[in-house]
């Protein structure tokens, strides 16, 4: 027997590659929310209407992830002192590289809870 797929109309969901999580614990990653607006990463920040590329995430060196708009707004306030709202370390935006999934274990202690 030989099986040929002619055409496959599939359905898939996209999600942000937050790093540190691999495919098998998807279920745990279900409810990751932005620490500022408490909306899931795959949702959009309160100011946006379209999720995805229109409302991207921003990664910090401190391993915390937020909606970019949320974080920029936070950093724009005087009270922020340019610190990460989660751990009060100075906010440094992490360089995101495509290569990141290759070494997810490089940040063992930084996986978001």
């Amino acid at each position: 027997m030989k099986i040929t797929i002619r055409h496959w109309h599939a359905i898939a969901q996209w999600r942000w590659d937050i790093g540190g999580t691999s495919d098998h614990d998807d279920a745990d990653a279900e409810d990751d929310v932005c620490g500022i607006c408490r909306v899931p990463y795959e949702g959009c920040c309160p100011a946006c209407k379209m999720p995805g590329d229109d409302c991207p995430l921003i990664w910090g060196e401190c391993s915390h992830v937020f909606h970019m708009h949320c974080l920029l707004k936070w950093l724009g306030t005087a009270a922020s002192k340019q610190q990460c709202p989660m751990d009060r370390r100075p906010w440094v935006t992490a360089e995101r590289k495509i290569a990141q999934p290759v070494a997810p274990a490089a940040l063992p202690s930084t996986a978001p809870s």
Binding site: M1, W14, R15, K49
Partner: protein, 746 residues
């Protein structure tokens, strides 16, 4: 012993009388003349028997005149009148006999003409006994009164019925009587006789009732079931041409000029006009349900009804009739929700014609709305018609109706110079400025619009996921329309869904250009789609390879994102090449996965298959395998074992009657419906309730509701909670006593 005084008195009286009668004539010549005159007069007045004395010599009027003069001078006229009436009384048996004869003839034949003849005969008697008009008014009226009294006293109880038949026969014929049409036109002269005999006065109400019945019969005959044309003007015309001439006989006798006749007819005419309206109104009221079904063909009937209702106050009857009809014919389990909605919309439109302020509608609609609220699929039906159901052509929404935002009832603006008070029969809850737009009305059945939006999402998701050719322009258009109605914000989510669709296509084009693949996914933003049934099926073999390679390309294209597949959704066009044949079909991915597994080995048990794929329940596994068995690719053996048929089975087994599966009969409901979502939510709340009841013992429903309100997503009202608790009680989880709920201790 008479005294002298008495004697003298008697003598004086005697002398006095004598002088009066003798009128001072010499001797007793005066008395003689008087006696002569008396004889002439009584002979003249004597009521003769018409039956036996057919001819009679012409009375000498001058002699009679002199005789009456004499009597008058002697003040004997009352006496002669008395004696005349006495004579009449003696002769009355003649009339009685005739009346009885005619009546018994009528009893036998039921022919109103007999009564006509009776009436004419009575008039003959009346005329025959009639004293000469010269004798003065007193005698005439005394005579007439006495004659009529007698006639009325001898008429048997059956006479009114007979009289009615006679009156009826004088009316213009109805269409239904055409077949038995009389050759002779109705005898209108009887009306003159009625008048003479005083029958018109005596039987006035009876004559009116004849006319009423006539009108009723005509209206029912002409108008029943004819809703497409306006009837009222036709009826009034008929009234003017047919009934009014008749009324001239009955009600305007003696009118000398047309104006006078008009004046006399005015009162009775408006009564009859009212009766026309009332009859038509009754008829239309009884037909109202079917009239509404026929809308808009029955528009004219509705206009008639509106006009009638302005004249006749039958609004309450209309409401109760329609409510009853709705209850009996519409609001029962056998009726399709879509039909109920269609009829409801028609009712809205029709009653708006009859009663623009909407009081009637408000009263009629209430039970329908309450009933619809209880139906589980109402929202789905409304939403389906909102987005224009593909299969059923008739949409609830009129295409021509301008699309407008949903209206909500506003607070009355008393500063408005055009403000009008509520109609007098409006109920306490009535609001004048209710939303008039049909969709607004339908949506307002429910308190919240969220339900509609949610259902809309589910429906849209189902449709979008089912599109294969990527053509969803229709959905886009629908969403644009609905945005106008529900507002931009409510449909934001739908907007995202549509954007996902376009994005998916763009991404797919890019990915395909990088690395061609047969897999064309729709990539969705999961928080903006209704919850999709989750599974963790692992696709086998080449299917998985395809997924992985596509996902890799995707991640290259969008470095920050990754894909997770929903393997149970979508469709696969698959060719299965076997030794002797090729089966080409479209199946859900799950079924493709099953057949893919048969590449590894030819014989599988169902348990092994399920274990291999993971996350498949046995029922859907059986269904999937059933597809391939039906297609003749697999064969079911005992103990749920399946074998691949590399060569087709012999005809003997192929001939067995297995029902050919309809290609893609019903798309499995991929999207979790709103109800399921709610049930899922309630399960969460049950944990809260359980906790509460454990900690606090027994609680009233109010308390539970108050406490649940602290939960962030709780949006049920107390009735829903009550229903839920009731369900929990049926399952034996809780008990209730005096309104206090507590956990059922096991």
């Amino acid at each position: 012993m008479a005294t002298d005084a008495v004697r003298a008195q008697v003598a004086a009286k005697w002398q006095d009388s004598f002088n009066r009668l003798n009128r001072g004539q010499p001797g007793i010549t005066g008395l003689m003349a008087l006696s002569e005159a008396w004889n002439i007069a009584s002979e003249f007045l004597h009521p003769r028997d018409l039956t036996t004395t057919p001819t009679q010599k012409e009375p000498n009027m001058s002699a009679i005149k002199i005789a009456f003069d004499v009597l008058s001078k002697s003040r004997m006229l009352p006496m002669i009148l008395e004696s005349f009436l006495e004579d009449m009384r003696k002769q009355q048996h003649l009339i009685t006999a005739e009346v009885n004869t005619y009546m018994s003839e009528f009893e036998n034949s039921s022919d109103p003409r007999v009564i006509g003849r009776l009436v004419h005969r009575l008039v003959e008697w009346y005329k025959a006994w009639h004293p000469a008009p010269e004798l003065g008014h007193t005698i005439l009226s005394a005579y007439t009164l006495s004659f009529q009294t007698h006639v009325f006293s001898v008429l048997p109880p059956s006479f009114p019925r007979a009289f009615k038949a006679l009156v009826t026969s004088t009316l213009p014929k109805l269409a239904s009587d055409e077949d038995q049409e009389d050759e002779e036109p109705p005898d209108m002269s009887v009306w003159g006789s009625f008048e003479t005999l005083g029958l018109v006065e005596r039987y006035e109400s009876l004559i009116a009732s004849v006319c009423y019945e006539h009108i009723e019969a005509y209206v029912l005959e002409e108008c029943r079931g004819k809703w497409s044309e306006s009837m009222l003007t036709g009826l009034r015309e008929w009234m003017a041409t047919k009934v009014v001439p008749w009324m001239v006989y009955s009600y305007a006798r003696g009118a000398k000029t047309p104006d006078e006749a008009k004046h006399m007819l005015q009162g009775v005419g408006s009564r009859f006009d009212f009766h026309i309206c009332k009859t038509l109104c009754d008829l239309r009221t009884s037909e109202i349900f079917d009239i509404i079904i026929d809308y808009p063909d029955s528009l004219n009937a509705l206009n008639d009804l509106r006009e009638c209702l302005q004249r006749v106050d039958q609004r309450a009857e209309l409401v109760s009739t329609l409510r009853y009809a709705n209850k009996k014919r519409l609001l029962h389990p056998g009726a399709d929700t879509k039909d109920i909605l269609t009829q409801y919309v028609s009712i809205i439109r029709c009653l708006r014609i009859i009663d623009p302020p909407g009081v009637l509608l408000f009263k009629v609609a209430d039970p329908i709305r309450r009933y619809l609220r209880e139906r589980s699929d109402t929202i789905r039906c409304i939403v389906a018609s909102l987005v224009g159901d593909g299969e059923s052509g008739d949409s609830l929404v009129d295409e021509n109706e301008p699309i407008q935002p949903l209206q909500t009832a506003e607070v009355e603006d008393y500063a408005d110079p055009h403000w009008e008070p509520e109609p007098i029969d409006a109920g306490p809850d009535f609001r004048t400025n209710k939303p008039s737009d049909v969709i607004s009305t339908l949506v307002s059945i429910y308190d919240s619009r969220d339900l509609f939006v949610k259902e809309l999402q589910v429906l849209l998701a189902q449709r979008l996921l089912a599109t294969k050719d990527g053509n969803f322009e229709k959905e886009r258009r629908n969403i644009e329309i609905l945005k106008v109605r529900f507002g931009e914000a409510a449909l934001q989510v739908c907007e995202v869904m549509l954007k996902d669709m376009t994005d998916s296509r763009r991404i797919d084009q890019h990915v395909q250009s990088q690395k061609a693949s047969v897999i064309h996914p729709t990539i969705i933003s999961r928080h903006f789609w209704p919850p999709l049934q989750a599974t963790n099926i692992v696709m086998p073999g080449q299917l998985q390879e395809m997924q992985e390679s596509y996902a890799k390309e995707f991640t290259t294209f969008k470095p920050d994102k990754k894909l997770s597949w929903l393997p149970h959704l979508g469709t696969v066009h698959i060719d299965v090449e076997l030794t002797d044949r090729t089966v080409s079909t479209q199946v859900p991915p799950l079924e493709a996965a099953f057949i893919e597994l048969f590449l590894e080995k030819d014989l599988w048990t169902i348990e092994d298959l399920v274990a291999k794929l993971g996350g498949v329940d046995k029922a859907s596994a059986l269904k999937s395998l059933g597809t391939w068995v039906d297609l003749g690719v697999l064969k079911e053996e005992e103990d749920f074992k399946y074998r691949l048929l590399e060569t087709a089975e012999a005809e003997t087994s192929g001939g067995r009657a297995h029902a050919p599966r309809p290609a893609i009969a019903e798309e499995p409901l991929a999207v979790v419906t709103v109800q399921q979502q709610q049930a899922e939510q309630m399960r969460v709340f049950w944990k809260f309730i359980e906790g509460m009841l454990t900690n606090l013992g027994s609680l009233s429903l109010d308390r539970i509701q108050t406490m649940l309100k602290f939960a962030p997503t709780y949006d049920r009202n107390i009735d829903q909670l009550g229903a839920f608790m009731e369900a929990a009680r049926r399952e034996g989880l809780v008990t209730v006593q005096d309104g206090m709920w507590k956990l059922n201790k096991k």
